[in-house]
Homo-oligomer: 138 residues x 6
């Protein structure tokens, strides 16, 4: 299996609901350093997993929709605790949709699986890892 990873970041505010979150129930924020890993079993004809320029641009575009925002006010997340692991999945789903739409290039339809990791500090990170939806590869 071949993997390529590109990195970017986003900075958001949010709060959590539930006693388990302790002081994080207050409005606070985070920088998430985001790693997008893309995997495929064989390289394309250019010896690439994916066009790394397109991968970086699309990651930046997905993050721009969340960046410099208070996630408590984002309609897409109403009622949800926007934990690091939840956000990793939300970003995963948006990148997967972009791949299905062909925005990472035709060759990107050969991608088999993906991981999105959000580093929230020097001592904690979370990720979502899964196969890419079948429609994206047909």
């Amino acid at each position: 299996m071949y993997i390529v990873c590109v990195r970017d970041h986003l900075m958001i505010a949010h709060s959590f609901k539930g006693e388990i979150f302790g002081p994080a129930q207050r409005l606070h924020g985070a920088t998430y350093v985001v790693d997008l890993e893309l995997r495929r079993p064989a390289l394309d004809e250019d010896n690439l997993v994916v066009d790394i320029g397109l991968a970086s641009e699309n990651l930046k575009q997905v993050l721009a929709e969340l960046n410099y925002r208070n996630l408590d006010d984002e309609g897409a997340f109403t009622g949800a605790n926007t934990t690091t692991e939840f956000l990793a999945r939300a970003i995963f789903d948006r990148i997967a949709a972009f791949i299905a739409e062909g925005r990472l290039g035709e060759s990107a339809r050969g991608l088999a699986s993906m991981r999105v990791t959000l580093h929230e500090s020097h001592v904690a990170w979370a990720c979502y890892d899964g196969p890419l939806p079948t429609p994206a590869r047909s």
Copy 2:
């Protein structure tokens, strides 16, 4: 699959037996920066993989039992070469027992697998990765 990781560290002395270890047969020591990764297929009702506070506290407690010690004098390791990979497994087993005892919260019984990584320098690390024992999840 969702993964959450927390980081801590421990500082120990030890020596190895066997010519393969060269100068490391002498009494020396190491700082291990320890990453504990916890995995589950779906988030719990709080949108969490695990209560990250409990995960951090339990990792710290497991490491405290080894920290600032000469492992050559620890009864639990008598006769064993306490290599980085061996220690990763020892910490894995202790965390797994804590999960089975419910110390990481009831929800943590939904954890499917785990990885414990010990970084011993800027150029070497080792880990043990495996499923969590069935009793821990029933």
Copy 3:
């Protein structure tokens, strides 16, 4: 010159005023990984720059007063843009006061200067570096 550094982090929300800040005028947030460097020309009688345990505890206490908060609501910062460099100075001043009060130990009065660095992402950091006020060293 001898230097000792300890690291911790904090997670806050805030917004900025002024066109120069672009999208960061919206309420957003940040994780700051904080490095506290303490300097002195000669070691104390224990061969230490400072009691590293006390340094870590006091850094944690200073950060706790800001952690998991919306800085726009903190009275101490009313009307101020809480930029990374501004916050580095605010933390510097609080640590300096703690040193003057003897909270880092009597020996810490021998400290000559200090640096507080806030890493806001993998591509940006800011710091404030300066001498410790004379009263702290008398």
Copy 4:
């Protein structure tokens, strides 16, 4: 599963063919920080995944054959785009051959799989991950 990883680096020049590469079609270069991960299901009798000294030496030897070179002039790569993911595979294959030849020690024949990661900057990396060829483990 147990994993051990060692790190080294190499510095090369190369160019790419194909419009998709944009300015990287020009002769340029890269530092690749290389991580070699070796995996096996059980430790050997010394409690090791592999002799870490032999693993490091062999990685260095494989990298030495490529280091400080213009890859456009290397016969082994004629006509190929030496992308990061392609090079990860090339290094993987050479290490796999060394293991098959017994250069990492007899015990290394118990290795089950391997990953070679090349970090090309602070924001991008690529790797090849796969099982070790059956002949190496018989």
Copy 5:
């Protein structure tokens, strides 16, 4: 003293002249992860050391003039060994000129000194650190 730092990178090919360089006399290459530190004794009226957006854009522009190139063919460096420390100075001088031209904003004329660091691998870096030319601050 306040400091702000932004990070970017460039990828180049080059060769060195002189026996002291050993195998690096051959055409090879490097990724340089570049840190630009900007310093001033007091913050501006926005509580900034510098407009971090302008600092990042100008660093990117300076690096773009060198990026994806064979430095042996660059007229500006004819006859010079483009060592890491030499390149740090070259980038320093170009950024200093940009500051003098006002490209980092009028407020940037208050900058007192600067450091440019080039990380060439996980085990080596070099930098140039110096005051900003007087014309830039008048």
Copy 6:
């Protein structure tokens, strides 16, 4: 000012004397990732701060005299608490002596100052920074 830095590491056991050290009074150990920074105001005729190969080799040799040892048994440190900051100074002095002896090359006599940093974990480091003795530069 130009600076070049090379990195290596060492792994030792030791114990401390004095209640201030708490559990670190027990025999334990540490990995120290060591950064050696060398500074000079102008480059030599090869555009170098120092022959980086010689700097790395000499750092490795100095560390080899301490590596894989119990520092409590080293005659050179009898009665001393071998804290991180103390060890940074000890390594500084040995490198300074090597420079004075010409082991880093004749050109290295132009070095003006030096810093030795020991990273003991992901959350703590210490260093000694100072001018090089005059005899080394005459």
